[in-house]
């Protein structure tokens, strides 16, 4: 009898623990759902063709946000063009070539630290290096480069993980039939790791698209009566625009604020969705 009651007690403990853990998992999801529902509820009435494709008017209090959408798009695009080759190249070096020595370890520590730097510090760094020292001025280029440096550690880390996930035996077999290390990387490892790399790049860019601080001093302006015509032009951008209309414009209608937040959210979650699709498709097709 005694052993039976202790078994019952253990069973009960397990069930309580299980319920508790399930509760925690649900709580973790709640804020995300709450944010999305709240933003959609508040912002959806503002969405119209004119809001998306129009220019701001009446000191931002009415009109649309098209220049900010275009600005964020180009900031993210140029950031991607700069950071992808750099980040992927660095990750290939670290995962495939780098010997395990102090030099490599210090590179890794540097990358980890790079990821921990507050984004506003990147903004100041970009101001000093790109805007002033390299004389790019407040421009899309300066902002994109700043975002690229900020995104670099994310892309290096995720790409390196994707490369390391490719089984070592593939590399040994490839070498054993006479392929060089580079041929092995290019023809076996990279194609197998590509979905993982793409996912990492998109997730990194998603963060870049939503950041305010790095473009605050390097690319973004309050208001521009026309669309930027070259990378050397300053630009409006969604996160900065949201910041401006939420803090700097008196008498702002909350509907436009939430409408802008909704557009930014769709922009970022859309990228997230693309990454998820790439990942799940690759997982279904993967043979190992």
């Amino acid at each position: 009898m005694k052993s039976r009651s202790s078994a019952q007690r253990r069973n009960l403990t397990q069930q309580i623990g299980f319920i508790f853990l399930r509760l925690v998992a649900i709580i973790a999801v709640l804020p995300i759902i709450a944010i999305i529902v709240f933003i959609i509820y508040q912002g959806a009435p503002a969405i119209s063709l004119e809001f998306i494709f129009g220019f701001p008017s009446d000191g931002m209090r009415s009109g649309g946000i098209w220049p900010a959408i275009v600005g964020t798009f180009f900031l993210t695009l140029i950031c991607a063009l700069v950071v992808s080759p750099l980040g992927i190249g660095a990750a290939i070096y670290l995962a495939e070539y780098a010997p395990d020595n102090r030099w490599t370890q210090s590179i890794r520590i540097a990358i980890i630290n790079l990821a921990g730097i507050p984004s506003v510090v990147y903004g100041l760094f970009g101001l000093g290096l790109f805007v002033i020292f390299l004389n790019f001025g407040i421009s899309i280029l300066a902002g994109s480069l700043t975002l690229a440096i900020m995104t670099l550690p994310v892309i290096i880390t995720t790409t390196e993980e994707a490369l390391r996930a490719v089984p070592q035996s593939f590399r040994v077999v490839s070498r054993s039939v006479g392929a060089t290390q580079w041929q092995t990387v290019r023809r076996i490892v990279l194609p197998q790791a590509l979905p993982g790399i793409l996912t990492g790049v998109i997730l990194g860019l998603e963060r870049a698209a939503g950041e305010t601080a790095p473009i605050l001093f390097t690319a973004a302006v309050f208001f521009l009566p026309r669309l930027p015509s070259s990378p050397m032009d300053p630009t409006m951008a969604l996160p900065y625009h949201l910041y401006v209309i939420s803090t700097q414009v008196p008498g702002m209608s909350p509907q436009i604020q939430y409408g802008t937040a909704l557009v930014l959210l769709v922009f970022v979650l859309g990228m997230n969705l693309i990454a998820t699709i790439i990942r799940s498709r690759a997982r279904a097709r993967r043979q190992w």
Binding site: S174, V177, G178
Partner: protein
């Protein structure tokens, strides 16, 4: 000129970077167009010896290899396998390797076979197709896969995958084929097919086989070498080795008194 020995190794010593010696003073010759079997308990240096012969040890943390390892060609010329300046890629095309676990590359059956050739610069479709059909026939797999060469290689059964791995090595027309327990994961029927194809292949190739059992060693061996803890204990023609071993340790191992 005809040669008798395809590979000559003398006083081969291999030391891992942590100081453990894996090969201790190995001297043995691999006769041409025959199956040489290297058997013995685990950890005896069998795989390490194979990996010296096509320099796959370069990928591991090996610090020092000393001694002599020469690969002879039909003309009687030889290359020094251990030469640090050797074109390792060219060596690996002449000395193919099949591993214990069948590792097919994540591509089609056809691409698995043409991968090495394309790396080597062969582009001509007719040559590639010739190599596919020849190598699959040699590995006794052609009948089973000829209608589905473009299917993913990973959909093949374990036995078929291992024969594909053998075919992949043969597609490069190597002179020497190294096999490291190629049938350890296979059922008896697949094992039989692989062993039968090895007996065919030795007419044109020099084969070095690490068997997965003493029984397989006895079945396959033209020559047999008994490795124990990094040392070559005995080396003799197969029919002598498995009937009248000269060294007590060899006899004990063959009879199953330790292992």
């Amino acid at each position: 000129m005809t040669i008798t020995n395809k590979i000559v190794t003398e006083n081969l010593v291999l030391q891992y970077s942590d100081g453990t010696e894996s090969l201790k003073d190995i001297s043995m010759n691999i006769p041409v167009n025959s199956i040489s079997v290297i058997f013995g308990p685990a950890g005896g240096g069998k795989s390490t010896y194979l990996r010296v012969l096509n320099r796959l040890n370069d990928l591991a943390n090996v610090t020092t290899v000393s001694g002599k390892a020469h690969l002879y060609s039909e003309s009687g010329d030889f290359i020094d396998i251990l030469d640090p300046n050797l074109d390792v890629t060219a060596l690996r095309r002449r000395v193919g390797m099949v591993f214990a676990r069948p590792v097919v590359l994540p591509m089609s059956i056809r691409e698995n076979l043409t991968y090495g050739l394309e790396i080597a610069g062969v582009r001509k479709r007719s040559l590639l197709h010739e190599a596919i059909e020849r190598s699959l026939n040699q590995a006794a797999l052609w009948e089973e896969v000829q209608d589905r060469l473009d299917d993913p290689a990973m959909e093949l059964s374990g036995g078929q995958q291992q024969r594909l791995c053998i075919a992949r090595s043969l597609a490069l027309e190597p002179e020497v084929l190294l096999l490291d327990e190629p049938t350890s994961g296979l059922d008896p029927i697949s094992t039989g097919k692989v062993e039968a194809s090895l007996q065919e292949l030795k007419k044109n190739y020099t084969i070095v086989l690490v068997p997965h059992s003493v029984q397989q060693a006895a079945r396959a061996a033209d020559y047999a070498a008994f490795f124990l803890q990094g040392k070559l204990i005995e080396y003799a023609p197969g029919n002598e080795m498995f009937t009248t071993p000269q060294v007590q340790q060899t006899a004990d191992y063959i009879e199953g008194r330790f292992g």
